[in-house]
């Protein structure tokens, strides 16, 4: 039994440039089929939503509000390579930290303040966000799965065993994020595996490896949480008041007890098509069973009453 490692993604949408490398890398590594070729007219997003054969999806949000902090003075030194330190393969040192941590101080720029007009000028902003299965600490799909096809791996990820899944489709409705889906012409439910096969081989998930700007960062969740918290403070100090973490801990998202793939967002979750307060259905289900029990028992009572009531029918045996 390998030691248990809680691995996950930290997706920093403020670093995303919408290149979709993650989407392609994912499909290529996992050899997933295309989703068809339809022009949606939704900005540059033509794949729409996560699905059975789209395990990474980049959302493009065109807003007529400025992105606060753009063009505002920056604290170069405190950013450094840290916030950018790259995808970390299980435990090993970063393969190619951009310029590494070994930068002589003289090479870290100090901020150049822009004029006051900076904010006023950008009345528009374009948010991009690479969405993926959240690998919830408490996973709706896993708890709903009647066959045990969906399991928790040694990396803390939620994994669907394709050879067990019988395509009942219950997980599809149980996922509060609408991630997992059944491919009709295949008959089974599919979703991101956190590149279970790559992790086994000590590699970084394909999407994280392909991300050119380290918007997708992979590593042990605790490290990621620390890095994420640092990044938020940094962004706020740069005037991006809206920056916050989505589902990084049980505290911030009790409904799922925290996500293994959490996000740094700059607008309401709804903007990115994320639920504001997701909850795993099973957390509410006990009462439902109770209600059912009450219902059926009273049903039994009805039956007995009906049968017991005086009747012209005489039982002849």
């Amino acid at each position: 039994m390998p030691e248990l490692r809680q691995m996950g993604f930290f997706t920093d949408t403020t670093l995303c440039i919408g290149c979709k490398a993650c989407e392609v890398a994912c499909k290529q590594w996992n050899q997933l089929p295309d989703d068809g070729f339809s022009f949606t007219g939704m900005s540059y997003d033509n794949t729409g939503h996560l699905g059975a054969s789209t395990w990474r999806h980049v959302a493009f949000v065109e807003r007529e509000t400025p992105l606060p902090g753009q063009g505002s003075p920056r604290d170069g030194a405190q950013a450094g390579a840290g916030a950018f330190a790259e995808l970390r393969p299980l435990g090993q040192p970063p393969p190619t930290s951009l310029l590494g941590g070994n930068i002589a101080p003289s090479h870290i720029e100090s901020p150049v303040p822009l004029g006051p007009t900076a904010r006023a000028l950008s009345k528009f902003s374009w948010l991009m966000m690479s969405d993926v299965c959240k690998h919830c600490e408490r996973a709706g799909c896993l708890e709903a799965c009647p066959t045990g096809a969906i399991m928790r791996t040694e990396f803390g990820s939620v994994y669907v065993q394709p050879d067990v899944c019988n395509g009942c489709g219950y997980c599809v409705s149980a996922c509060p994020f609408g991630v997992i889906d059944r491919r009709e012409d295949d008959g089974r439910a599919w979703k991101c595996t956190l590149c279970y096969d790559r992790l086994k081989g000590g590699m970084v998930p394909a999407c994280a490896q392909a991300c050119p700007t380290a918007s997708i960062q992979f590593g042990e969740i605790d490290d990621l949480r620390a890095r994420a918290a640092e990044r938020v403070t940094q962004l706020r100090s740069r005037g991006v008041e809206d920056a916050y973490l989505y589902g990084e801990s049980a505290a911030s998202q009790p409904g799922t007890e925290g996500l293994h793939a959490f996000f740094l967002l700059a607008d309401k979750p709804e903007t990115y098509n994320l639920p504001p307060d997701p909850v795993v259905p099973t957390t509410k289900i006990v009462k439902s069973w109770g209600a059912m029990a009450a219902g059926v028992l009273s049903l039994a009572a009805l039956a007995l009453a009906a049968a017991a009531a005086p009747s012209r029918t005489r039982w002849t045996l």
């Binding site: 066959t147 045990g148 009709e184 012409d185 049903l299």
Partner: protein, 401 residues
């Protein structure tokens, strides 16, 4: 598209020539015959085109949840399962009240047994991989209503089958299948005894079978189903009972039809009450209740309700008793079936509507309900400056569809 070009294009959606590239990755076994993955669902193109701005922040009006993938078989199963279960219960009750061996009981048992077989058939047929049905019984997982349901259905099937043993044997002993019901011949005492025990067993399994389908739906992220999780199982239970009663109105046993009729009438009353309760429970968030009243699902449910009431009213019509029962029974049967289809349809609509999810959760009915976290609804939810926790905005935010 250019014909030559078309011919050249591979149809597995991957462009991997198996002679050159090795198909071995996680998704390589995924079959892709056609590009349209969900013929039932609306394309993103259509949704985005239909999305209206005034409805508030959303991602081009795209659904946040995946629509249920189930086809007509699931609501059909809800009906047959409910009917079978309720019959078993009725049969058990009559049996307990000394109606052992009567026509009514026998019919109940037969319907239960038949129903369980049909139900299983529907369930399996709806699977993406029917051949893997047995995987359902790999595990025993209380957290999964579907898993529980499978166990219940199995148990129910076994018992109800056993409960009709005497009749089956009678047929084997030369009785004509047609006279299955009418057979007078006695089977050995011990078999009859076993069958009676099985009858009780079937009733016992029948109880959860009528109700669990409600839990099954409630235990999803679909707003309207999740929201009505306290009333849905009850509604389904009574609706099952109604169908059972109604069945014997149109197909009356020589004896005990009165019992069945009374049972049906009582259940009708209960169902009316339950559906009212369900409506109230859903209405706490208007957007969530929408599909119960509007659209295709709304129409179905209203019709179902109307039929139910109609079947009650038909009782007081100045008609011969037989005609009345047939009328009311038919109405009730169709109505209860329609209810199941309506509820499932409502779930589809609800899942398709992102605002149902958003508004429900912003109203504190997401995790807010189950987790203690401040008093005001939606506390701890990501709130931006200019946006209240419950979502109302002082500053314009978010995407414009």
């Amino acid at each position: 598209m250019d014909p030559l070009n078309q011919a050249e294009a591979r149809h597995d959606g991957r462009n991997i020539d198996p002679d050159i590239g090795l198909l071995a990755a996680e998704g390589s076994t995924q079959k892709a015959r056609d590009a349209t993955v969900h013929p039932a669902r609306a394309t993103y193109e259509e949704i985005a085109a239909a999305a209206r701005e005034e409805e508030g922040t959303s991602y081009y009006g795209l659904p946040v949840l995946c629509e249920p993938v189930w086809n007509w078989m699931i609501p059909a199963y809800f009906f047959t399962g409910g009917l079978a279960g309720a019959c078993a219960v009725l049969g058990g009750a009559v049996q307990a009240m000394g109606g052992r061996g009567t026509d009514l009981v026998r019919r109940c048992r037969l319907v239960a047994a038949g129903g369980s077989i049909v139900s299983a058939g529907l369930l399996i047929a709806d699977l993406g991989r029917p051949s893997r049905f047995v995987n359902m019984l790999r595990v025993f997982r209380p957290s999964s209503p579907m898993n529980m349901g499978t166990w219940v259905l199995s148990g129910f099937g076994a018992c109800s089958a056993a409960s009709i043993l005497p009749e089956v044997l009678a047929v084997r002993r030369g009785g004509r299948a047609g006279r299955l019901l009418a057979t007078r011949r006695r089977s050995p005492r011990w078999i009859a005894l076993a069958a009676d025990r099985a009858g009780y067993g079937a009733a016992a399994f029948g109880l959860p079978l009528v109700g669990y389908t409600g839990v099954l739906l409630a235990n999803t992220a679909v707003p309207v189903w999740q929201q009505t999780r306290h009333t849905l199982p009850v509604l389904f239970a009574f609706s099952g009972a109604v169908s059972a009663g109604a069945l014997f109105d149109v197909w009356p046993p020589r004896r005990g039809s009165g019992i069945a009729h009374r049972f049906g009438l009582l259940a009708r009353g209960a169902e009316v009450a339950a559906s009212a309760a369900l409506d109230r429970e859903a209405s706490t968030v208007p957007r969530v209740a929408r599909p119960l009243r509007h659209g295709v699902s709304g129409a179905m449910l209203n019709t179902a309700r109307a039929m139910l009431v109609g079947s009650l009213l038909s009782e007081i019509l100045p008609l011969p008793r037989r005609a009345k029962r047939i009328a009311s029974g038919t109405l009730a049967l169709v109505g209860t079936a329609l209810l199941r289809f309506g509820i499932v349809q409502a779930g589809r609509a609800s899942a398709r509507d992102p605002h149902a999810t958003f508004e429900m959760q912003r109203a504190g009915r997401g995790a807010g309900e189950v987790v203690r976290r401040g008093d005001e609804p939606g506390a701890g939810m990501p709130a931006l400056h200019g946006v209240g926790a419950t979502g109302e905005e002082s500053v314009q935010h978010g995407a414009t569809p």
